[in-house]
């Protein structure tokens, strides 16, 4: 099994992270924002896994399981909020939630 260089892994992780971040910023639909957040979390996961395999340590995989749990919890809360939002506003537009302006 050939070793994948660390640089490639980091570049992939960065690309994924940027795609996720751009998604968070440009999408108005809250569902897509949640999905983009998942992409960002997974980008971080990829970076951890890659680093763990390069240094032959279990820590990276531990961290990934942690992130996975976190993402699961986040999605649960996020989807619940999403349902609430749908019932209240009849829309998923994130910009409607701007009552906290100064």
């Amino acid at each position: 099994m050939s070793v994948i260089p660390l640089e490639h892994i980091l570049i992939l992780a960065s690309i994924l992270f940027v795609i996720g971040f751009v998604g968070v910023i440009v999408r108005k639909n809250t569902l897509y924002i949640l999905m983009s957040l998942e992409v960002m979390l997974n980008a971080v996961g990829v970076a951890f896994i890659g680093a763990g395999s390069v240094w032959q340590q279990a820590d990276g995989q531990v961290m990934f399981i942690l992130i996975l749990t976190l993402a699961a919890a986040e999605v649960a809360v996020g989807l619940a909020l999403l349902l609430q939002m749908q019932t209240r506003f009849k829309s998923l537009d994130i910009d409607l939630l701007s009552k906290l302006k100064g």
Partner: protein, 632 residues
């Protein structure tokens, strides 16, 4: 009476009216007429009695009585400003006039203002005025004098605007306050300069040391005397700051009598007499004083000829009589000037108060063209008014005669005056007698030109004060010798004017002048005298109107000073300097706006901001990292 007793009486002198003022102003409307009148008049009685007592204590052996109360503040190691009183013959004359005439006017005012709802406030202000005036004349240093000086200015303002519901009164009060403030500023600068040059502000010390430190004709005494003259001109309503006095007649008549005829307006004369040590070192300024007096007496006499308001005639006459005093001081005849100050206080107070009684009887009618025939209808007031006019015209035997002759007699051979000013004084006397006769004819002779029934006042208080003033006016001239002897040591430094070289005809002319005026008026104003018609037509020629409006000075100042100032104020309405300070506020508001707009509640923007800032931090850390690598 021993010395400490005298000092105590002198110390308490201004205290009675002060206590009365405090009582009246703090209890205000709760007092009945009887209580308020007895408090204020009682305080004046006490003051008048004590001033008589202390004046009696003055003699050749004790020419000066002083009373030091406490140190006000320290200006320099050598000069302390004390609250202390200094009584010599000059201030004795002044406190005699202030408390004596003041008492009579207070009695009159108590009766005159009885119906006014603000009677207590009125009497309180009158008392405060007496306090300030006594401080002014008794002050032993110029700072305390200045306190009294501003105090009388304040009381004048308060009393002119006493009936503040009417706009004209308030405007007159404001005008009086602002115009006299111009003079006061000059005087304050004079005091600063005096202190800078000599380090002294105690009056007696200044008069003593003035000719040690300076020679006659030096520039320092010239400027100091000129600035002090500025103050005197403002307060005494002389050219060019005379415009406030005729308007000041908007106040109640007792105020016009007390403040704007008898006492306050003579403060300028008192100041110059008091500071004669400095003025004697500046002969040019003495000349200016004389010329200011002469011009004022001529201009005011001319303006008095055409006035239709009885009080305005008297106001212009006051200006012209103070002009005589100034002329006399300028000529170096100090005691004659002070003597005229005293007699003028008597007869002008009498004239104003009688005019007040007449105005009251005519239901506040002040227009001369709506009077007439009052000699038969109001014989008591008319005869007293006539006594006052006789003194004003200086007919032989009256008090005005003695004092005015004393002035005119010394003008011709005085170094700083001379024949020209003598002729001015004679012309002034002629004008005086003409406008006095015109006033007399219009008010008392001819047919009645009013329709309302007379409201005769039977108040004994009113008549008593008028009678006493009339007696003083008639016999005031007898004090001439007494005054001369006592004032001589005060003005010891003034050269005695040698009158022996004068031509003989001077006296004859001076005595004959008023009679010429009377004869002229008898012929020229014949239609006022024998008028059979119910109405008299006022002259409306350009010259008359010009003279009526105070010879155009008001107009001139309006266009020269008031208008440009208002324009400037309008131009700078938003205040340039204020804007500079407001720049701070503007900057803060700007920052506030920026931060407020950043808090818009839009989640995506927040996320973008967090991301960007994180990126920024990463970049900075990277650059730093490269930097440290490079340094390694």
């Amino acid at each position: 009476m021993d010395e400490s007793m005298t000092t105590l009486i002198l110390t308490l002198l201004p205290l009675y009216p002060l206590v009365s003022f405090l009582l009246l102003i703090s209890l205000a409307t709760r007092l009945s007429w009887t209580v308020a009148a007895s408090i204020s008049v009682g305080a004046m009685v006490l003051s008048a009695l004590s001033s008589m007592l202390v004046i009696n204590q003055l003699s050749v052996d004790t020419p000066i009585i002083t009373s030091q109360l406490w140190t006000w503040f320290t200006l320099s190691p050598s000069e302390e400003i004390n609250i202390s009183f200094y009584l010599d013959a000059l201030s004795a004359v002044m406190i005699g006039v202030v408390t004596g005439v003041g008492l009579l006017i207070h009695i009159f005012a108590a009766a005159y203002m009885k119906e006014d709802e603000n009677f207590t406030r009125f009497m309180a202000y009158m008392n405060l005025f007496i306090v300030a005036m006594l401080l002014l004349v008794l002050a032993d240093n110029l700072v305390l004098l200045y306190l009294g000086w501003e105090g009388v200015g304040l009381c004048s303002f308060l009393l002119i605007g006493f009936w503040y519901q009417e706009k004209a009164n308030v405007l007159a009060a404001r005008k009086a306050f602002i115009v006299t403030r111009v003079g006061d500023t000059a005087m304050a600068i004079g005091l600063f300069m005096l202190f800078k040059e000599t380090g002294l502000l105690t009056i007696a010390d200044i008069n003593q040391s003035a000719n040690i430190s300076w020679n006659v004709g030096d520039t320092q005494p010239y400027w100091i005397a000129l600035l002090l003259l500025g103050g005197a001109v403002g307060k005494s309503a002389q050219l060019p700051l005379q415009t406030w006095l005729p308007d000041a007649m908007a106040g109640p008549t007792p105020v016009s009598a007390l403040i704007h005829a008898a006492t306050m307006v003579t403060a300028g004369v008192y100041l110059i007499a008091r500071m004669h040590g400095v003025f004697l070192l500046a002969p040019e300024v003495m000349g200016y004083v004389a010329w200011v007096g002469a011009l004022t007496l001529l201009l005011a006499g001319g303006a008095a000829l055409v006035q239709t308001d009885i009080k305005r005639v008297l106001a212009y006459s006051t200006m012209s009589q103070i002009g005589y005093m100034m002329l006399s001081l300028g000529a170096g005849a100090f005691s004659a000037g002070v003597f005229h100050l005293m007699t003028h206080a008597f007869f002008k107070a009498l004239l104003f108060l009688t005019a007040g009684a007449i105005i009251l009887a005519l239901h506040h009618q002040q227009n001369l063209y709506k009077m007439g025939g009052l000699l038969k209808r109001l014989p008591f007031e008319a005869s007293l008014f006539t006594i006052g006019l006789v003194c004003l015209m200086a007919l032989p035997g009256s008090s005005g005669f003695f004092s005015k002759e004393a002035i005119i007699g010394q003008l011709w051979s005085s170094e700083t005056a001379g024949p020209t000013l003598w002729w001015c004084a004679i012309a002034g006397a002629l004008l005086t007698s003409i406008y006095s006769c015109r006033l007399f004819f219009l008010a008392f002779l001819g047919s009645s030109r009013f329709s309302v029934p007379l409201q005769s006042s039977s108040s004994k208080l009113l008549q008593l004060s008028l009678l006493v003033l009339a007696i003083l006016s008639v016999f005031g001239g007898l004090l001439a010798n007494l005054l001369d002897i006592n004032l001589a040591p005060v003005f010891a430094k003034a050269a005695i004017i040698d009158t022996s070289t004068q031509p003989d005809w001077l006296h004859t002319v001076a005595i004959a002048t008023p009679f010429i005026g009377i004869v002229y008026a008898w012929i020229y104003y014949a239609n006022y005298r024998v008028s059979n018609h119910k109405t008299l037509v006022e002259s409306h020629s350009v010259l008359t109107r010009f003279c009526q409006q105070g010879l155009g000075f008001d107009c001139l100042y309006h266009y020269l000073l008031v208008k440009p100032y208002c324009l400037l104020a309008k131009f700078n309405r938003r205040d340039i300097f204020d804007q500079l300070i407001m720049l701070n506020a503007w900057y803060v508001t700007l920052c506030h706006d920026i931060f407020v707009s950043s808090q818009h509640g839009k989640l995506r923007w927040y996320a973008a901001a967090i991301g960007l800032v994180t990126l920024l931090f990463l970049l900075i850390l990277n650059i730093d990292g490269f930097g440290s690598e490079a340094s390694l």
